[in-house]
Each structure stands twice: as structure tokens, then as C-alpha cells.
Amino acid sequence: MLTYGTAIPIVTESFPIPVLDYSANVPPVNAVVSLDLSYYSNDDLDWPDFHNGLAAGLRISKGGDEIDSSWIVYNKPDELDSSHAGFLAALGLSGHLKKMIAWHSFHYLTPKHDITSIGLLLGLSAAYLGTMDSKVTKLLCVHIPALLPPHASELNLSTPTQTACLLGIGLLYMNSLHRRTAEVMLHEIGRFNLTGLDGTSSTCGESYSLAAGFSLGFIALGAGDSASGLSDIHIVEVLRQRIHGGKGLRQDPHVADNDKSKQAMSSALFPQYCDATAPGAMVALSLMFLKTNRFDVAEKLSIPETSYLLSHLRPDLLLLRIVCKNLILWDDIHPSQDWIENQIPPFLMATMANEMDKENRNQGSDLDESLRHALYNILAGACLSIGFRFAGSANASAFKCLLHFMDQFINISTLGGMIIKCISGKFIYNSCCVILLVVICCI
């Protein structure tokens, strides 16, 4: 991020992507120890390489018309690798992929190199943001079974690729309120038990559902109820059911005809499945009603008021609920400590006050762990809402308030003696390696 948009490429040369350095200095002798890469499988290094390529690509500034299709292809390595995939995604994010001629993209897609497909398709959709370009739509649709005609031949596509394409569609149709895609996305939020390439159930189901949620959110961004064309698919009701479970859905003859959707809906009726579908549904709901200050919609995302109900909800979903609720009630966000503490339900606040009394009298704490986790997540959620509301504003009171909570959390996370000096060497190398990777990723 540091070097974002600072470099201008030389058209006659390929763009250098720095190679990740996996070696580490070990104090006190400062011996350089390099990491044995054979210890890791290729899959482990794919994503760091992707981030690295992306970071390198983002250095290219947004303007400048030197970049053309042939230059992009000129940079293509003989064998597709993940850092080049990242590079393509970066070019897309900064809008340069628009200049790529369509048939060039097939060179990247035909080898079915997973990460390259993800990078290229995500990049293309970001480059054509909100344009509903038909060529890119076709490219993306081919990768999403849900958008293919019924009884189409099975395409061996990994779940991450499908996930990326799902979000790509969302970016491409941003703000369009396109009815067909919105309907498909709404349906895909409820699909989380996907099968992977080898026929086993995929581990990425939750991210697929989430991507569908984001996608729906992008399509109907901030539209709220004004999306009259979408009113007949009952988005709000379906999403509510995906969040809370239960049978809230109106029986629609149109839906009942469709075998597939019936299946998906019946599977989502049980609350235990909602853990997987809720994040996507919450995100979709919050982005759809972004900044509308609609209290009635936000109420669907309110957090439970009793300890019994609270114990039925995963703490990280609690965090998400707080954030989503506050994105809808945009104008109510205040950069103050009081506002953050007001987000905590009264009963939890009372329990906490009780607890503090006890601790002051040195009676030890017998608080239920889950309540503690809930509390921390609620606070973090409230902080993230402030982060979104005042993003890039350098608002002094928001900063002060966030810093206060950050210090509190740093304090409690360091209590257990975090810097363990005598950990075995292997761990040092591993974590050094990861640190290095991510530093480069972000800078």
C-alpha cells in the first residue's frame, strides 16, 4: 500500500516483480538462515506469491496510457504462476485490464491454472466495474454453475474460482439492480455445501456464500426499498430467514416450481445451517440498505437481549451483526466511547459491572467465558463501524476513542507473556517467513 500508484512502467521492458525473500536473520549472531522451501507444499506458497505479485502490480499508477494489451501479454511468464496472477488482478483493480483484447484472456484461462483464473477474472470485473459489459459477463458466467443453463455439462472448477467469479459478477453489475443476477445471488447465499473438484464436500462453502452476499450487496448497493424491480423476489424476507433460520418464507408458486431452489430453501430452514449462510445474508442486507438509516431493517440485525439467546449465537457473528446494523444506521454512529459502550446490551453491561465489583474485592472471576467473548466481539464490531464511518477522515475524536480500545486490547493480549524467548528455532523461521511475506504483500 505504501508504494500505491507511484511507479510508471517502462513499456519496452517487462515489469519486475520482486522475489520474496524467505531467509531470516537470527540474533544475536545475525546468521542468515534460509528457509527450506521443500518443507512447504506449493499450495502454501501460492497465496503469498499472489499477494506479492498484486502488490508489485499496484505500484503502477492509475493514469498513463502506455500500457496496452501486448505489454500485458509480454509480461506473461512461460508457465503461469501465482505472482503473475496477482499482477493481472492488480492491473484490473487499477483499470488497465480494460485495454486487454478479449482473446488474450483466453490464453490465461485455458490452462485452468486456478489462481491465474481468479486473478484475471477478478481483475477484469474490477476494471469493468458497474458497466455490465457483456463480454466479461460471458467469461464470468462460464465459471459459475448457477448461471449456466440447466443440464449444462459439468465444468471442473474449483470452489475458489467460482467464489471469485461470483463476486466478480457483483462488481460488474454494481448499482445496476439487475433482476436476474440479484435473484441468482440471493439463491447462492443459501448454498454452502458445495462439492469440491474430487467430489468431496468443499471447505470453502462459507466463503462462497459470503461472496454471493457481497455480490448481492454490490448489485443493490444502497438501493433499499427503491429497488422496485426486485420487490417480487422478497429479498429482505429471504435474507431474514438465512440469518435467523426458521420458516419465515412466503410460499411463492414461482419458487415452488423450481426444484433446485426448493431444495436449497428446505436445507436452510434449520438454524444450525444459518451459521454458514448468515454472514453472507447479513452483508447483503447491510449493503443493500447502506446509509438508509432504516430502523426497521436494522432491527433484524439487533443482538439478543438475554444471556440465553446470546449463547445461541457465535461470537464472530455477533461482531458482524453489530457492523452490519451500524452500516444501515449510518448517521447514528458517533465517535465516542459512550456510543461504543451503548452497543453492549444492558444485561451484559450489568453482568460486567457486577464482575468488576467482585474483582475489586479480590473474589476472583467466575464469569462465563462465552459472555466475555461476546463482549469483546461487540466492542470490536462497534470499533469497526466507527472505522468505516470515519474512513480516511482522520477525525480526532474517532481516533482517540479507537486508540483507547486498542490499548485496552493490547494490554490484555500481552498479559500472558507474549514474547517467549526460548521457542524452538523452527517457529522463529516460520513466523519470520510469514512476517516477511505479509510485509511485502502490503507494501
Binding site: 505504501l2 507511484t6 497465496w47 510485509v439
Partner: protein, 227 residues
């Protein structure tokens, strides 16, 4: 509220994990607010977090810290984040509160989406240059902003306004909030960009890439010269 006994039993390790992931979220939130400013107080804390080395600090913990670090110096301080609908959605996607556990973890959020912050980036760094020699110069300015403006709404009555004193080069507030920018110095001839009255002022600023040309008065020093 913030006392916790951390040890090595299962529940204690779980506690630590929860606290850390919450800390990640708060760190990214703070960095979002201060994006591009390079704030020193935040940098100090991020440095401290950056130096954490322990087997149970996960890839995601580091990712959050490093992303915040990058965000704090976004584009070398030339860029910051916007809060338009598109930007908020992109930021939500990029800083989705669940960070990956291991390097290849795509279970709850695809790692490729972590880069969508690019869609929320906004170039808002105002730079002043001397029109005579095109040199960079520092000029104290006053920016008048609306405190009640909403994005995307066309007809609105602005009642409350606020003056902010800054010195260029600086990161401006969001453009839809700005009423006017006025130089406040005897050393340069006065410049005033009034976005409310003259839309062309805004357009020309976009064309020059947020560069404002000023002319120094005869017999006055620049702010870089001591005497």
C-alpha cells in the same frame, strides 16, 4: 471489564485467540480512520504489534497488522479512503473481520478479496506549487467544510459550516464536504477556490491532479526558508 488471566489451558488459549482477533479488527478500523496520515501514535503501536513473534500468532494476525501499516502510509501519504457507497462496500470486503488462520486458508473469506481496498482509494492530497518555478511550497490554508452534508443528495440546505486550518501539502476532507479552500498567508497572493459558487474551480483542481499554483509576493520568503 478488561482483566483476563491468560495461561496455557484450553479456555485461556481460546480467550487469547478471541482477544487477538478482536484486536485485529480494531487495529484495521483505526488504520482506516487514519489512512494516509502516517500518524505517529498509531505507528508506535503497530510497530509493537509487528514485532510480535510467537507460535500462536497466526498469519491472519500478521496480515491485519501489516495491512494497517500499509494503510497508514497509503501511496506514500498521497491517498486516503473515501466513504462513498462503493468505497464502503469495497472496504467491508477487504477488511472483512475474519482474517485467515493459515497461509492457504480461504474458508471464510477468499484471500484475493483482501485487495479490494483499491476501489476505495481517493487521491485527496492538496499540493501547492510556486507558479514561477514550479517548486513545491508550503502554504497555510483554511478549508471550510459543511458538517451536515450527505453524499449523493443534490438539493440540501447547508447550515452548519466549519473552518479547518491546515498547511499544504495535506490530505483534504472529502470533496463533497468542501465549501471553499482559501490561502491564509501574507507571503503569497491570496487564492480562493469556492466550490459552491464556481464548479470550475473543482474541475480544474481535478485536472491538475490536486495541484494548486500560488504566486509569492515580492520581498517575502517561502515557508521553507528560515531567513
Amino acid at each position: 471489564m478488561f482483566t483476563l488471566y491468560l495461561g496455557s489451558s484450553f479456555s485461556e488459549r481460546l480467550n487469547r485467540k478471541v482477544v487477538r482477533s478482536c484486536l485485529d479488527v480494531i487495529v484495521t478500523a483505526t488504520a482506516m480512520v487514519m489512512a494516509g496520515t502516517g500518524n505517529l501514535e498509531l505507528l508506535r503501536r503497530l510497530r509493537k504489534l509487528h514485532h510480535r513473534l510467537a507460535p500462536d500468532i497466526s498469519y491472519g494476525n500478521h496480515m491485519a497488522t501489516q495491512m494497517s501499516l500499509g494503510l497508514l502510509f497509503l501511496g506514500g501519504g498521497e491517498y486516503t479512503l473515501s466513504t462513498s457507497n462503493k468505497a464502503i462496500a469495497a472496504l467491508f470486503c477487504a477488511f472483512y473481520p475474519q482474517f485467515p488462520d493459515t497461509v492457504g486458508d480461504n474458508r471464510s473469506h477468499l484471500q484475493a478479496f483482501r485487495h479490494l481496498w483499491v476501489l476505495a482509494v481517493d487521491a485527496r492530497c492538496l499540493v501547492t506549487r510556486d507558479v514561477e518555478n514550479n517548486d513545491l511550497c508550503a502554504v497555510p490554508i483554511t478549508v471550510t467544510i459543511y458538517t451536515d452534508a450527505k453524499q449523493d443528495s443534490i438539493n440540501q440546505s447547508h447550515e452548519s459550516i466549519l473552518d479547518i486550518d491546515m498547511t499544504t501539502p495535506c490530505l483534504l476532507p472529502e470533496f463533497h464536504l468542501i465549501k471553499k479552500i482559501k490561502s491564509q498567508t501574507p507571503r503569497y497572493w491570496p487564492v480562493c477556490l469556492d466550490f459552491e459558487i464556481n464548479k470550475k474551480h473543482f474541475e480544474s483542481l481535478q485536472v491538475t491532479g490536486n495541484v494548486l499554483f500560488v504566486k509569492r509576493r515580492i520581498g517575502h520568503l517561502t515557508y521553507f526558508q528560515v531567513w
